[in-house]
Subunit: 364 residues, 4 copies
C-alpha cells in the first residue's frame, strides 16, 4: 500500500496539499452505530487551529470539518467516513520567490529527488497542514474507543520541553495545559517559555520541543507481537508527524542507564487484580498493553522556516541563500501536541479492533 494510509482495521487515508482547494481523509473500519457529529471532531481541530496566539502561524483557517459520508442520522453506518476541510487562506504568492530554492531542513530537496516535480506552494503535500486530518481521524478514534470500552479513555498531551527548557514534573498540573499557549503543564515554566520564545521569534529563529502523550483507561492485552507491537506502531505513528526526530516509551532512553532490578515494574495484588508498583515501561510490555497508562514522548526539531538566511542550492544547480518569509510557527512542537494525542488515539483504536478480531474480547 502507498504511504498515505495508516492503520490495519481502523484505518485512514489523507489527501490534499497546503495550497490546494481542500484537504480531507477517509476513515474506514469504524464500527457501526457509533454516535458521531461534526462537533465531536471540531473541538479537537480547534485545539490545533493556527492563529490562536502569537506563538503560532498567523495563517487564517477556520478549519471547519464536514462529514460527507458514512454517518446517517447521527450514527456511523460501518461504511467509509469522508471528512473534508476547505482551505481558505491560500496565499500562494508568498512562495513564488523561493519556488526554485530548496529550503534547508524542509522536504523540498528530497521530494524533488524522489518525484522530479515540485509543488512549491508552502511545501505542498509535505506541509504540516496535513496534520489537521490526523486530528480529525483521531477524534473519530476517540469515539470508537469510548463506544467499545463503555467509558472514554483519557488521552492527553502536554509540552514538556521547549527549546532547551524543561519542566518541573512535580509541578505537573493538567489544568494548566489548557490555559497557556504552550500546552505546558507547569505554570511557572510556561512563564519562562513565553520570554524565551518571544526572543526566538523576534530574532527570526525557531525552537524545538518535546511532547508527552498519555492514555489512561486502556485495558491490558492490546498489541500484536512481534512486529505490530503497540509501541512499535506508536513509534511509527509519532515519527510520521512532521519534524519529529525521536520517540520514546515509558522511561525511554533513560532506561538504558538503569539496572534490571530498578527498571522492572514489580507486581502485587490489589484485591483480585494484579497491579504494578511502577510504570517504567510506559504501559507496554512485550508490545502489549499492561493496563497501566500508556506513556510516550516525541522530539520535534525547530521549525525549518526561519528568517535567518541559510545557504542552499536551486533546482537548476546554483548556489543561493534563502530566508522563508510568510507566516510560520516559531515552534511547531506546540501545535504537535493535539496531533500526538490523535495518533495515540488512532493506534489504540486500531489495536482494540485487532485484539477483538483475534481474541473476541470486547465483543458483543
Amino acid at each position: 500500500m502507498p504511504g498515505n494510509s495508516f492503520g490495519d482495521v481502523f484505518t485512514f487515508t489523507t489527501w490534499g496539499e497546503s495550497h490546494g482547494p481542500a484537504i480531507g481523509c477517509v476513515v474506514d473500519g469504524v464500527p457501526p452505530r457509533v454516535p458521531l457529529y461534526e462537533s465531536d471532531i471540531q473541538q479537537y481541530l480547534d485545539r490545533r487551529r493556527p492563529g490562536q496566539s502569537r506563538y503560532t502561524t498567523q495563517r487564517r483557517e477556520s478549519d471547519r470539518v464536514q462529514i460527507v459520508s458514512g454517518v446517517f442520522e447521527g450514527l456511523t453506518t460501518g461504511t467509509p467516513i469522508a471528512l473534508v476541510i476547505e482551505n481558505e487562506d491560500q496565499r500562494s504568492k508568498d512562495y513564488s520567490e523561493i519556488s526554485g530554492k530548496f529550503r534547508p531542513g524542509h522536504a523540498d530537496y528530497t521530494y524533488w529527488a524522489k518525484y522530479s516535480i515540485r509543488d512549491y506552494r508552502g511545501g505542498g503535500r509535505s506541509s504540516a497542514r496535513e496534520t489537521a486530518m490526523r486530528v480529525a481521524a483521531g477524534a473519530v478514534a476517540r469515539k470508537v474507543l469510548a463506544h467499545i470500552l463503555g467509558e472514554a479513555p483519557r488521552i492527553r498531551g502536554a509540552l514538556v520541553q521547549l527549546g532547551p527548557h524543561g519542566i518541573d514534573r512535580d509541578a505537573w498540573d493538567w489544568s494548566e495545559v489548557d490555559v497557556n499557549p504552550f500546552f505546558c503543564p507547569d505554570a511557572e515554566a510556561a512563564g519562562r517559555w513565553a520570554d524565551f520564545l518571544d526572543d526566538v521569534r523576534k530574532r527570526g529563529s525557531s525552537a524545538g520541543a518535546v511532547v508527552e502523550v498519555q492514555a489512561e483507561g486502556i485495558p491490558a492485552g492490546l498489541g500484536e507481537p512481534v512486529y505490530d507491537r503497540l509501541d512499535a506502531d506508536l513509534a511509527k505513528a509519532l515519527m510520521s508527524i512532521n519534524a519529529v526526530k525521536g520517540v520514546e516509551i515509558g522511561n525511554g532512553f533513560a532506561a538504558a542507564a538503569t539496572s534490571g532490578e530498578d527498571n522492572a515494574d514489580q507486581m502485587r495484588m490489589e484485591g483480585d487484580t494484579p497491579h504494578f508498583l511502577s510504570n517504567n515501561n510506559g504501559g507496554v510490555l512485550g508490545g502489549i498493553t499492561t493496563g497501566q497508562p500508556v506513556v510516550a514522548r516525541f522530539a520535534v526539531k525547530p521549525t525549518s522556516s526561519i528568517l535567518i538566511p541559510r545557504r542552499t542550492v536551486t533546482t537548476e544547480g546554483e548556489e543561493a541563500e534563502v530566508v522563508t518569509k510568510g507566516r510560520h510557527d516559531p515552534c511547531v512542537g506546540i501545535r504537535a501536541v493535539p496531533v500526538g494525542e490523535a495518533m495515540l488515539a488512532i493506534v489504540l483504536a486500531d489495536h482494540l479492533l485487532r485484539h477483538r478480531a483475534q481474541t473476541g474480547a470486547f465483543g458483543g
Copy 2:
C-alpha cells in the same frame, strides 16, 4: 495482517518459539537472479550468536541456517525464500519453577492478559531468540540492496552507551567494533565497560544500552510520505526489537534543544551534485532519504532476567517473589547490534523496491 510480518514489498514473516523444534522465516518479494548462499546469511548470524563471550548467554546454539526454498542453482527465483534454524539447546526444565509466575519486565503478564494461555518455556514467542530470523532476513536484504544498487551500501552498528557509560565520539574507530565483546567503537570505553559489566553480572543484575546504526551509500529519494516515511518505518522496525524503549534519527532528542538555524543542514554544490554541509537530520528529510548516511539510535532497557529477587504475582492471583535463573545476557543491548543493522537493511531494501514501483528508478 497479523503482527508477525514486516515490510510492504520486501517482506518477511517469522515463526517459532524459544523452545520449539525450530525457528524460521519466509522472505517474500525478493527480486529474481540475486546470488544467495547460506554463507551469505550465516556470517551475520554468527555475529549475533550467543556464547561468544562471558557477556552473553551461555545457551549453546550453532544457529546454522538452511535455505529450503526460493533459490535455484545459487540464484533467487523470485519466489518465497524459506529459512530455518533448528533449536539445539532447549533445556526447558530450567523454566519449570517459574511457570506460574509473571517475571517483571517480561511479556509474561501481557501475553497472559491477551491470549489466556502461557508458553512458559523461556518466554515462548516473546523470547529474543526470534531476532535470529531478523538477522537472517536482514542478510537477504543486504544482498538485494547490493544487487540493485550495484554496490553494497555499508550498513553498520555499534554500542554507544552501556548502562550509564557513553563513548568519546571523537575516538570512534569502526575497526574496534569487531575486536571487543561489546561492538564498542571506542577502545578505551570498552575497557571501562568490561569492568562495569563484570560487576553487574556478578551482582546478578543487568544493564541497558544504546545502539547506533548507520547506512552509507543509500541514494536520495527512498521513503513514502506521509505515513510510510522511511524514518517512521525505521522507528517501527527498531522499536519492535525486544526490550527497545526509544528510537531517534539524526540528532534525535538533542534536536529539540537547538535553534532552527543551527539544526538546518545547509547545502552547497560539489561539482554538479548538491551536497549537505552537515547531517543533523540523519539522512532523512520529510521522510525521504537525502543521500547522506542514514543514522539512527535506539535504547535497550536492562535485561529483565536477573538473579535479584523481585516481587510479582502468579497466574493464580497469588503474590510471590521471582528470580530468573538460567543463562541470560547481562546486557541484551550488545547482541541487539546486529539485529538493529538487520532491521535497517530491511527497511532500506523495502523502500528501494517501493521507490522503484512508483517511480521506475533503479529499474531497467
Copy 3:
C-alpha cells in the same frame, strides 16, 4: 484493511452513498509526472452516465468529476489524487415507502444483518452509484499504463449476452459498440435486444447480461503468483461489481469440456519472438500475462429493483410485499461495461507497478 480499498501499489479507496452530498475516491500510488486532466477522466464517466437511453435509469446526474489534490500544473505529483463528484439528483423521498422493507435481491437484509443500521435511501453505500468512482479510478489507471508502456493499451468491453440472447461472434465489430445503447458488438443482435428489453421494461421486469472485457498491448510477465495471480485479482475486481455472479478468463467454463491437446495454446517463433497459435487461456498462464490479449467475461444478474411485487419481510419481522418504484435500469449489465473496463485497467496498472517493484522491468 477494511473493504473499501482496492489494489496493492496502484490503489484507490472510494467513499459516499447514493443519496449523500457527494461520492469520491482517493487514488494513491500513481507515479509522478503523468499528464492528467479532468477531461481524461470525464470521457469515461460519460460512457457510464445514466439517462442516455431509455434502457438506463432516468436519474439525472451530470457526473462532473473534480480533481482536488495530487495534480500540479497538469502533472501528477506522486501524492494522493482525490476525485469528487457531487450528487445532484437525490430524490430520497422516492424511498420512504420501502424504508422498512428488505428488497429481495438487494443488499438490504444483509447490511441490516451486518451493521444493525440501515440507510434506506436508495441502497446507501450498496448502490451501484459507487461504480462511478471505479470508472474514474480506471481512467487514471489507463493514463498510468500509457505513461509507463509508452503506448496506451487498448482496453475495451462489450455486452455479449442480454437476458437469454447472445451474439454472433463472427459478426463482432468494435465500431458497433459505441453506436447502439447496449455496447453490443453485433448490430443485428442489438436490434433484437431492443425489442426484447422494451418488452422487459414495459412488464416492470428486468434482465441479466454477460459482459466481455479485453486488453490488447499488455506485455508478458504481469501477475504475482501464487495468490495474487493476475487472473485471481481480476476475478476479485470483477466479482466486486454490483450484481456480478460469475467471472471467467479465456475459454472459462467451456474449457472444462475440452481436451488437454485442444486447450493448450501451442507456440511457434515469429522472427525472434515466441508467439501463441491460439488464446484459449485468455492471455494468462500460471497467473502471469503471456503477452496475448487479456480476455475476461462476467455475468450480471437481472436488476433487483422491479415493479413486479415480491414477497419480503420488514425490519420489524413482519411479512410484506414490495415493489421498487423509481428510476431503475432494466438491465444493469449495460452500464457495467465501462465499469468492467475500468476494473481491468486498474488490475493491470497495479500489476505493472508490482512487476516493476520486484523485477525492475519498465523502469529507469
Copy 4:
C-alpha cells in the same frame, strides 16, 4: 504484499517448490486456545493425497504434516503456526529432457518472461504441489470456524462435471462423494466418468472439470463491502487455484438469462426468523452472507501435462515439440475438490474474524 500470502486477519503464506526438500506454510492470526492436532490437518491432506486411484498421479508422497510452532499442549497460542511437509518423491531426472522447452498450457513461458530464471523441475513453484499447503491451512480455518461458531459449519465439495459430462442434480447424494474416485455425488455419473477417463488416460490426453463447493451453517453478516465482498474474495481464492479458469456464485452465469422476478430470493418469516424461499444468490447478497448455504463453482481446465506431442519453442528461441512424460493426473479437477473446500473455509474464517473486528459479533 507479495503474492504468496492470502487473507487479511486469518492469513497464511506458503513456500516451497515441487522438487525442493519440503513445502510449508505459516498461518497467522489464529485465535488462541483453539484445539489443534496434526491429525486435524492430516485427514484433509489424505483426501488430496496423490496415488489413491488410477485417475491421479502416481507420485508417491505420504504428505505427513508437522506442526512446528504456534501450538502448546494441544492448543493454539495466538502466535504463528508453521506447518511443514517433507517432499519424499523428488524424481527430478524425469524433467531433464524438457528443461529448455516451454510446455504449452503450463506457466513455463510466463515465469520465464517474468523472472528470467527457470526452475524446470516439475514446474517448481508453479506446480499444483503447492495446493497441499492450502488444504493444510484450510483445516486450520475449519477449526477456527468451529471454535468461534460453537458448531462446525459443513464445508463440502463435489465434482459436478468431468470433461463434457455433467451429473443429474436430482440424484445428488453426498455419501457417494467419498466412495468413488471422482468426488462425484451421482453414482451413475461416476460409472460413466470412469469409462470416459480411462479412455482419456489411455490416449495420453486429459480432461477438465467443474467443482462445486458449499458451506452450511454460516451466519448472516460476513463480508466487507464494497471491494472485499465475501464473494469477491472467494472468487479470488478459487481463481488462484492452479488451472482454474472460471468461478461463479449461486446461479452464476445462468442468472444472466433469467428475469428479475425469478432470480430474486423472496423472504418470509419462519417463527421469529426471516428466511429465504430460494437460494439463487448462493448465500451472498451485496457481498455479505445471507445465512443460507454459500454455494460456488469453479471450472478447471484439462491437465496441461499430456503425452500427445504439442508444438512449442525453447528458452533459446528454437521451435520444438514436447510431450510431458512422468506421472500426471489425467484430470487435475478431481484433486481440486479438497483444495476448493479449503479455500472456501479460509475465506469464511477470515471474514468471520474481520466481521468480529468491526462489529464485535461472535465475541466474548
